[in-house]
Amino acid sequence: MSTVHTYDVLVVGAGLAGMRAALAAYQQGATVAILTKVHPVRSHSNAAQGGINAALTDRGDKWEDHAFETVKGSDYLGDQDAIEVLAKEAGDDIIALEHMGVIFNRNEEGRLGTRRFGGQKRARTFFVSDFTGQAMLHVLFEQILQAKLPIYEEWFVTSTVKDDHGRCAGVIAFEIRTGNFALFKAKAVILASGGLGRVYEPSTNALICTGDGMSLAYRAGAPLMDMEMVQYHPTTLKGKGLLISEAARGEGAYLLNSEGDRFMERYAPNMMELASRDVVSRAEQLEINEGRDINGCVLLDCRHLGKTVINDRLRQINEEAKTFANIDLAEEPIPIRPGMHYQMGGIKTDIDGRCWDINKEWKGLLGLFAAGETACVSLHGGNRLGANSLLDTVVFGRRAGACAAEYAKTLNDPKISEALVDVDHDLVSSILRRPSHDDTIARIRLEMGQTMNRHLSVFREEEGMRTARQVIHALKDRWLTVGITDKGHVFNTGLVNTLELGFMLDCAETIIAGALTRQESRGAHFRTDYLNRDDEDWLRHILLYHSANGSPEIDYLPVRITQWKPQTRVY
């Protein structure tokens, strides 16, 4: 008999989206628990340096401007009803965070100050020095402690479960420290499990960003959307791919090629370095491909900003540059290049985080909610604006939490067979029984990552993507037999990595399927064999469903347009 826990709302993930959702559900009176594979403050949200966007009307900004720039940034693939919600509610959420304790930087009047971020004409990015995500994450954790919500920390979710009505009604998870499995029953499950960066090698993402939630939802029958839209960030370090935040360019840093040219003049004469990320990354990659590079990189030059700005506003970034690249930003330009950073797509949700459609226009999974990077509302469409993701986590985390709590009120405790736990338990046992041989999970992951980075990066074309599809197929077969040396149950990190690799291979497959389907260039998805955006045929989302035969089943959904008709996108 395995242990059984029961709650109204179960949140998988303790990043910003998960904790915000949990707090909202708790405030609506639901019983809530959080499950997370790492301690909450270890979640990847802490990596966000730059800031969080909001148009505060009492500061003369207009939510419509923020919304329009987000729509334009998305290359018109973002759903405008969702973007309107994001932009309208942003201000209240920023203020709520300040009230909870976030120490946002202030201006001379003692009010919250802003900096400029890419793709936006106005400075509307609120920030805490250059560790905004960390500052927010720790404060949300404080709120969770105050509310005394149960946190199952270092618990790994292996699958979602359904009740007799086919509704998502809980998850199966094991405690990493003991290897013990438990069944968690809930009236509503919120997946807030973050991004999938490790599907690529290199990536700016932490080692825990393995797309678990996307795969969990996909396997359970919920659709993934916009998976082909993978953001390459313009300023990442060579080697491990660590990020140099957009805050550097926000403060005024230049991009230079090997000839010392500010090459963005040629690609985005108005917005220059602060054009949308897809635009800047493509420009850099072209400079590199055409030989105006320095060992595969271009330069980010901060010297003219002066020591004071660098120390006050870019301290952590400079610290990072010193530690990881041996460069003091005040003294020397730093070599950077585009690198995989963010997944715009994810588990399809409506504007309340539901992974099913109350109007039944698309098929989803009742009882399941999603929020944060793992979800796709779609706000970011073809390209996310910097500092819109933190905003996404708090606005849609809150909405998903509140909606899940309300939804839970309408239901009785779910009935689930406890025998379901055995399936996952058996999978783990079988992985532990496999002999370890030459092939390793590290090798499979590296091959996957390099393949994705080669064929599904800034520039893509049919043949390369077909090759990638074959490679991933073969890797999936190898995953079925790969073994690990550690056969124990206590903190078996090899086991955790094996399960994560399984999730990542699903994600890779859906990215490729989406990218092969979309025969045009839009946002981050630029195809050298289809150079133009094609609104006639492709102003629509691609939905991917898990199918019995393995390859994703494809469906489409129109983009929701409220007030901004698609235009040519120039910066």
């Binding site: 990847h44 802490n46 203020i95 304790g101 805490v128 932490a206 078996n492 990190t493 090899g494």
Partner: protein, 319 residues
């Protein structure tokens, strides 16, 4: 460069579990971090090595461990700074917390102590509709202590925790300071009263170890000193800790040199005769070794005491 990592391992599931050292030889670039080395071991030599790591960029706080005897973040420690060509780097789990497996420690006691200080903002009134107004300079200095990533490195190397596990510890105290120094927080006095208790802010011995090892420049001990100062300014009821500081200053002002027996007597106070009695064995031992310094009326002021007194007066005028 050719490097050997000597790692303390521990597998609780073995028959009679006991820690042991295992050496791994591998080729690393000087600019690689110790974490790169550990990951390389896991990926190419021994996938059973257990450790926590995630961000690789000194921000998630997962990879605290002892490297050549001192706690540090593995991802922030360069191979080059830890060793020379051909020599060995020793890697062990953090101190002052139980080991679960290999380099993984049980952080539960750490988090219990963080919880103890009620780590959430406690504002006075319901918040305004907009943000709290606060001059930038009253807030911006908090970013130093907010950069704490709760990695546990300071707790691992805290010399007080080594002998007294009830001490609330440098990380929790730095966190407490973050609220005490926040103009929006209204619970300052209560917070200081709690910190004033035994095992609180007065138990730090100022060994500076936490300042040295902190990978984020938080300077926990400096925050503890700031808490003490604020405690004394807010005159939360005096305790041995604060009296020790006051009596110390008093005695120096009076005689220019420390009167140690008097320091003990006045710090504890006669009403605390039990603790004073506890000091008798120490006194007898010191007496035997002829180390009892003259006290009270026998304790003479140093020459130049006037100058010292003048210094005190001047200091009091312009703090």
């Amino acid at each position: 460069m050719n490097t050997t990592l000597r790692i303390r391992r521990f597998n609780p599931e073995q028959k009679s579990p006991a820690p042991f050292f295992q050496e791994y030889e591998l080729e690393l670039a000087p600019s690689d971090s110790v974490l790169d080395g550990l990951i390389k071991i896991r990926e190419t030599l021994d996938d059973s090595l257990a450790l926590r790591c995630s961000c690789r960029g000194a921000i998630c706080g997962s990879c605290g461990m002892r490297i050549n005897g001192h706690a540090a973040l593995a991802c922030k420690t360069k191979i080059l700074s830890a060793t020379q060509e051909g020599s060995t780097i020793q890697v062990e789990p953090m101190n002052n917390m139980p080991v679960i497996k290999d380099l993984i420690t049980d952080m539960a006691p750490f988090w219990d102590k963080i919880r103890q200080i009620q780590p959430w903002l406690q504002p006075a009134a319901p918040p305004p509709t907009a943000e709290h107004l606060a001059p930038a300079e009253t807030m911006s200095h908090l970013s130093g202590v907010m950069s704490c990533i709760m990695c546990g490195v300071c707790v691992s190397d805290c010399t007080v925790l080594e002998v007294d596990s009830t001490f609330v510890g440098p990380a929790a105290l730095a966190k407490a300071y973050r609220f005490v120094a926040d103009p929006r927080d209204a619970a300052t006095t209560q917070r200081l009263q709690v910190l004033n208790q035994p095992s609180g802010m007065w138990d730090c011995t100022r060994c500076m170890e936490c300042i040295q090892v902190c990978p984020k420049g938080v300077g926990p001990m400096d925050r503890i000193m700031a808490l003490r100062e604020q405690g004394m300014n807010e005159s939360v009821p005096s305790t041995c800790g604060s009296r020790h500081a006051e009596v110390f200053a008093d005695l120096i002002e009076d005689k220019g040199i420390l009167d140690e027996p008097m320091l003990a007597i006045r710090t504890f106070g006669f009403q605390n005769w039990r603790r004073l009695l506890g000091l008798i064995p120490v006194a007898i031992q010191s007496f035997r070794h002829q180390r009892i310094p003259p006290s009270g009326p026998f304790h003479r002021a140093v020459p130049g005491i006037d100058q010292i007194k003048r210094l005190f007066t001047r200091m009091r005028k312009q703090p």
